[in-house]
Amino acid sequence: MRVLVIEDEPDLQRVVWAALQEEGYAVDAAEDGEAGLYKATAWDYDAIVLDMMLPKLDGFQVLHRLRQSKSTPVLVLTARDAVVDRVRGLDAGADDYLVKPFELSELLARLRALIRRAAGQPRPVIEIGNVRIDTVSRSVTRSGEAVSLTATEYSLVELLILNRGKLVTRAMIYDHLFNEDDDSLSNLVDVHVSRVRKKLGHDFVTTRRGQGYIIHG
């Protein structure tokens, strides 16, 4: 899952970035509205964390322009907790709202919920065959036994499951699993897919040659 953090306070940006990174997200960051809007429209993020008080373009303007082309879920961070501010933010196209100061755990939970809802999977636990994926604890069990996955492997499984029944192209996998700083070697995806197959069974992921991968739910 790939997330964009638009926050101008360097210390806050770094801690959010680090926390998301540790959660296995691919994280990009921007420190003003202009750069944030550019990245948000250039890539398909699974979610955007957006601060409202931003230089160059403020959060409302970023939201307004972003919504003209993208429906990426946006979690707004703001110091303004007045009802009018919250209403204004939600009406401008935000999907959720978090008032500073916030707990990182709440930020992460809200992001997970946003991503699930956007994928049409409101339930946090998803079962496919004998494989059970808990998106909250980020754990996978196969026939009741815990399976140990790396963060990238888990993200790949989550991406495929959230899009189950739909074709997930290699480009999508690159977009969602790696941030802009990661080397995107094309065979890396195949490496991750084969490891997932090894751990969860070969039939868990179906390959559409030349197109991508699909999980049949």
Partner: protein, 522 residues
């Protein structure tokens, strides 16, 4: 309610109206009554005058009292005069009247006039009194009409000389004493009878009167009409007055209702001003302007609170999230150090922000005590420039100074703070390799500090706001550089506490000049 303006107005209106109506009514009543009496008096006077002139013809002025019998014996034919008394008048009148007209009896008081009853008895016709008055004249005193005239003639001593048939008993009105020898006239109302008394120069009293019962009744009726009309006018006046008062009061009530409904939450609503050219419209406009100022103050206050809390929330979020992340699992020493450093930076920012807020609050409540002393602005400026020069050099910005000794009366630390804020702004918003010019001098009896930079400048529409608290021309720069948008507001507070002024001029992309004028003081 009873003490309300409306009730007081109406009560006063009613009282004034009542008083006016009462005075007017009494006046009209009196006027009417006098007119009636005058009308009546005119007739009585005419009648009296006829009798008086008759008397004077009978007894010419030259004749002294008692009148000589001889003179009146010119027409002697007095068969009844067997009982001649000393009362010459009675005699004379009888004698003089008889030949000219139908004679009647003399007054009943005249003991000597024996023939009178006989005359009355002998003629069913009411007898005319003596004095030889014409018949048609005497007709005035006859008839069943209750308002017919009557007369009585007395001698100066009070003896009745003649009287009409229906004359009531009237005591002798002794009047001659007042102005003896001069004719007199007196009018009076006695027992609902109007009487005029003419006193001739000899002291003869001629009284002519009539009953004015009808006049009194008519006058009473008129009075009743007056009262009724007055009540009607009063009622109409009260209703009209009430309506007018209501009309006049209604805008006030509406204004007070509107003003009452304006609370802290609805400060944006205003009193509806319909007529701006009258006093109430002006009052409403004044109130509305007051509400404007109140609303502006409220909004500024609310914005200030929001901004202050916003500025505090961001470093709080940094501390909270950094500690949370650091504590979420075992970390390396480097990670902990980073987290602690971030927390320290955030705490420092909060400390500086809280200091600024407290400073502003103290200036706002006029609690801040300036340590005023005579000082040289040049020294303060050069010291501050020396302190800040490393920061400027770090950014490749040169600071030029042109100063002259300028004595002012001020607080050294606070003025140094102003200079620090102005200089760091001039450096922060400057272009790479730009310059800052600081000059200190004297102008119009003021100490003047001028800080001129070659920076990015401020747009004309932003310029009026730069001294507002938490106002940031570019939010990014100040955040990154650790500013919180209070620097210029603090400068303004300090300068104004010195009774000075601070002004800014700017050209975008050319630079900003800030001028501080401080009074020289003592």
């Amino acid at each position: 309610m009873v003490r309300s303006l409306r009730w007081r107005l109406q009560t006063w209106h009613a009282l004034v109206l009542l008083a006016v109506l009462a005075i007017f009514g009494v006046f009209v009543y009196e006027l009417q009554w006098q007119a009636r009496l005058q009308q009546s008096d005119a007739e009585l006077d005419r009648t009296a005058e006829v009798i008086v002139s008759r008397l004077q013809r009978l007894f010419p002025a030259a004749t002294p009292w008692p009148w000589p019998f001889r003179r009146n014996r010119n027409t002697p034919r007095s068969p009844d005069n067997r009982n001649a008394t000393t009362d010459g008048i009675a005699e004379a009148s009888r004698q003089s009247t008889k030949p000219e007209s139908a004679t009647g009896p003399v007054g009943p008081h005249d003991s000597s006039s024996q023939p009178a009853p006989r005359d009355i008895a002998s003629r069913s016709n009411p007898p005319a009194p003596g004095l030889g008055l014409p018949d048609e004249f005497l007709q005035l005193f006859e008839g069943d009409d209750e308002s017919r005239l009557y007369f009585v003639v007395w001698s100066r001593t009070g003896e009745t000389l003649a009287q009409s048939r229906y004359a009531p008993e009237i005591p002798f009105p002794s009047l001659q004493a007042a102005k003896d020898g001069l004719p007199q006239r007196v009018a009076r109302v006695r027992d609902s009878q109007r009487e005029v008394i003419h006193v001739t120069s000899f002291g003869n009293h001629v009284l002519v009167g009539r009953s004015i019962r009808f006049d009194i009744v008519a006058q009473q009726r008129a009075a009743a009409w007056l009262v009724l009309t007055g009540l009607g006018v009063l009622a109409v006046g009260l209703i009209g007055g009430g309506w007018l008062t209501g009309r006049a009061i209604r805008p006030i009530s509406e204004m007070s209702a509107a003003a009452q409904s304006i609370s802290a939450k609805t400060l944006s609503s205003r009193i509806n001003v319909q007529e701006t050219d009258n006093e109430l419209g002006q009052l409403a406009a004044v109130l509305n302007r007051t509400f404007d100022r109140l609303q502006a103050a409220f909004e500024q206050q609310s914005r200030f609170t929001t901004d202050a809390s916003h500025e505090l929330r961001t470093p709080l979020a940094v501390i909270l999230s950094h500690t949370e992340l650091a504590l979420s699992r075992q970390r390396s020493g480097e990670d902990y150090r980073e987290a602690l450093e971030a927390c320290r930076r955030a705490s420092q920012r909060m400390t500086s922000l809280i200091d600024s807020l407290l400073l502003l609050a103290r200036f706002d409540s006029h609690e801040s005590e300036l340590q005023l002393q005579p000082l040289d602005l040049e020294h303060v400026t050069l010291d501050t420039v020396d302190l800040i020069r490393p920061l400027a050099e770090q950014r490749g910005i040169s600071i030029g100074t042109s100063t002259s000794p300028t004595g002012v009366f001020g607080d050294r630390d606070r003025l140094s703070q102003v200079l620090t804020n102005l200089l760091s702004n001039a450096i922060r918003y400057n272009h790479e390799g730009g310059s800052v010019d600081v000059s200190v001098g004297e102008q119009n009896g003021h100490g003047v500090i001028r800080v001129k930079d070659t920076g990015i400048g401020i747009a004309a529409d932003e310029l009026p706001h730069i001294f507002e608290r938490f106002y940031r021309v570019d939010k990014a720069r100040s955040r990154v550089d650790g500013g919180c948008g209070l620097g210029l507001a603090i400068c303004q507070s300090i300068v104004e506490a010195h009774d000075g002024t601070i002004t800014a001029t700017s050209q975008p992309e050319e630079g900003t000049t800030i001028e501080v004028h401080l009074p020289r003081g003592v």
